[in-house]
Each structure stands twice: as C-alpha cells, then as structure tokens.
Symmetry: C2
Subunit: 201 residues, 2 copies
C-alpha cells in the first residue's frame, strides 16, 4: 500500500487559502480535508465541524492537555490547532490528507512530518491582500494594520517551504497545487515498489 500524501497549504492571512483548498477538494474527491480547531469567532456562514471545530478557550486547553493536536499556535490572539485525528494511520492506509494551516503552524508540522508537501500561497500583491482582508468586513482599522504588517513578515517565511503558488486566480492556483500533488506522487522515494522486479515483471 502506497502511503498517502500529507499536503499542507499555508500562506499569509488573507491570501485566500480557504477558497483555493475548497476548489482542490471539489476537484479531487480522493483528497480528504483535515478540519482545524480554533477559538476565533465563526465568520458568517461558517459551520462548526465543517470549516473549523469552533472551541472555547477552555475546550481548546482541554484538547491540548489531552494530546489531541499535531500542532497549535496563537495567531492574532486566537488559538488555532491541527487535530491529530489519526493522521498517521490514515496516511499509512493510503489516504491523501489536505491541511490548511497558518504560516507558523505549518512550519511546526514540517518539523514533525518532513515527508509532507509544503505549499506556500502568495497574494498577487499587498494591495490585493488589503482589499481581501477589508472585504471580509470582520476587521477593525487596528487589526487590519496589524494583519498587513504581519503579512509582510509572514511572506518571508515562505522561503522555507518547498513550493510557492501565486493566488492570482483561484482556478489557476488550484490547478498548480493539483499538479504539485500529481508530481509528488511520482517521486521515486514514494514508488520504491515499482522497482522491485516482481512488481515490474
């Protein structure tokens, strides 16, 4: 059984990670999404157990104490975490798992799971990023200013990833990530069985 791919999509806040990941999941039904947990307030339309597990601070702390997270981090005063949810067993069963994580959390996962595929999503421009964050209508001027300053710093961290994709169009960015997934499945180290003579002949 070929081990599944751990696909990690990250990028500065407001880069459009969620929309691009949704498109990938629509296009590739064989890829499973791993739902993150957060203490932040749900945005309009967000459903508990779908976009996120929305937890109170106390619940989040209980999950930490219970060893339920692969990683967790505090971002803009809220906690975000990646639940383990038997990720290792699922990968070993051949499932491909997509994680959408903030920049800091993704690097924590990279240290623990170096055989994952780490993709950094860039906004087409800071102007566009500002427009997208404002468009959410969930930011105060102060939190907007802070988010933009942070985005500049976060983007530099993208150099530590393996792949970089510019989100100038959701379709194009998703197509590039889908190509990355297809290519990673062809890497020799993931296909040792294909060189055993029993398999080939």
């Amino acid at each position: 059984m070929e081990r599944g791919l751990l696909i990690v999509v990250s990028g500065a806040s407001g880069t459009g990670k969620g929309t691009v990941c949704k498109k990938i999941l629509d296009d590739m039904p064989q890829v499973a999404y791993s739902i993150s947990a957060t203490t932040r307030t749900p945005r309009p339309g967000e459903v508990d157990g779908k976009e996120y597990y929305f937890l109170s601070r106390d619940e989040f702390t209980a999950w930490i104490d219970g060893g339920k997270f692969l990683e967790f981090a505090e971002v803009y005063g809220n906690f975000y975490g990646t639940p383990l949810n038997k990720i290792e067993e699922r990968l070993n069963r051949g499932e491909d798992i997509l994680l959408e994580i903030d920049v800091q959390g993704a690097l924590n996962v990279k240290r623990k799971c170096p055989d994952g595929v780490y993709i950094f999503l860039l906004p087409p421009s800071l102007h566009e990023l500002k427009r997208r964050i404002e468009g959410r209508g969930t930011e105060t001027p102060e939190s907007l200013r802070r988010r933009l300053a942070n985005a500049v710093a976060e983007i530099q961290i993208g150099r530590e990833y393996t792949y970089v994709v510019v989100n100038d169009s959701v379709e194009r960015a998703a197509a590039q990530i889908e190509a990355i997934i297809a290519a990673e499945k062809c890497r020799v180290e993931r296909n040792a069985d294909k060189f055993s003579l029993e398999e080939v002949f």
Copy 2:
C-alpha cells in the same frame, strides 16, 4: 528572467520515451525539444534533423572532438549524444528544454546539470516491453534477448532519478510528466524573485 527547465526523460530501451515526448511537445508548445545525435540506422519514417541527427561514425567522432556534446554514450554498439546547442544560454533565456536520453546518458547529464528535472519512464511490464520491442520489427532474436536483459538492469538505475512514471498509456504518462513540469516551476528555489518585497508589493 526565470531560468527555463531542463527536462530529461529517460527509461529502458523500448519503454516508449519517443511517443510520450512527442505528446508532451504537442501539448506544451512552450517546451523546445533538443534533438540527439546517433550513429544508428534511421527507422522507417525517421527524418534526419527531426527525430535525430543521423551521423556516420566519423562525423560523430568529429563532433566529440569539437566539444559539441553535453554527453554521449555507446548503447548496443551505436553512439548516442546530446548536442550542447547552446543549452545553457537557452535555459538562461527562460526556454524550457526537453531531452530524451538513454539511461546511461541521462545520469551523465544529471552530474553536469543537477538542477534539471530527471524523469524515469517505466514499461507497464516486461511482457509489454518485449511486445513493443518486437513490434518495431527491427530486432534480431539475439538483439531482442540482449535488449530485454539490459532493460532489467536499466530499470534498476531508475532509482537514481527524481521522478518515475509508468507508461501504461501515452496520455496518462504525458499528463503526469506535464504535472511534474508545472510543479517544478513552483519550487521555491526557482522563484526567489517572488519573495522580494518589490515584486510582491
């Protein structure tokens, strides 16, 4: 200017490299094919300067002496070589260049050009490989036996490549290689300019 990709497709003799490469070139007009030189006899329909530069032994030796090859190797008593054809300048101009090379030659190129993309094409089975080589109608029983024994040895060398693609269908193999090309263009080390603040903002 982003440097072009050097894409090297290799695989055991009779794996169908030529057909798969032709499909890729049809699908991706931005990829240029680098024509190899050989001293072997043209197969029916092959045209000098299209599939290969067909050279006499003396001409081939003169090209070697003139420093015209990136690599060359003897395979089944014939010489095959990859002409330099200003490959470095073309890559630096941003051109993507596809090379179709035998197993031995490709590893020679890998040592000289480690930033290339090395793809190993596998036959779906030895039975199918035998059928393909016989189908050419250009082999004697002795040369067929020798080719098959060599294929077994050559396939093991595939472990030294970066990617492996099974040629169970030309369309599927070409699509996988096209995904590999798209993914390689997203690698962070090929996109350093995207992290400079002038470019992003």
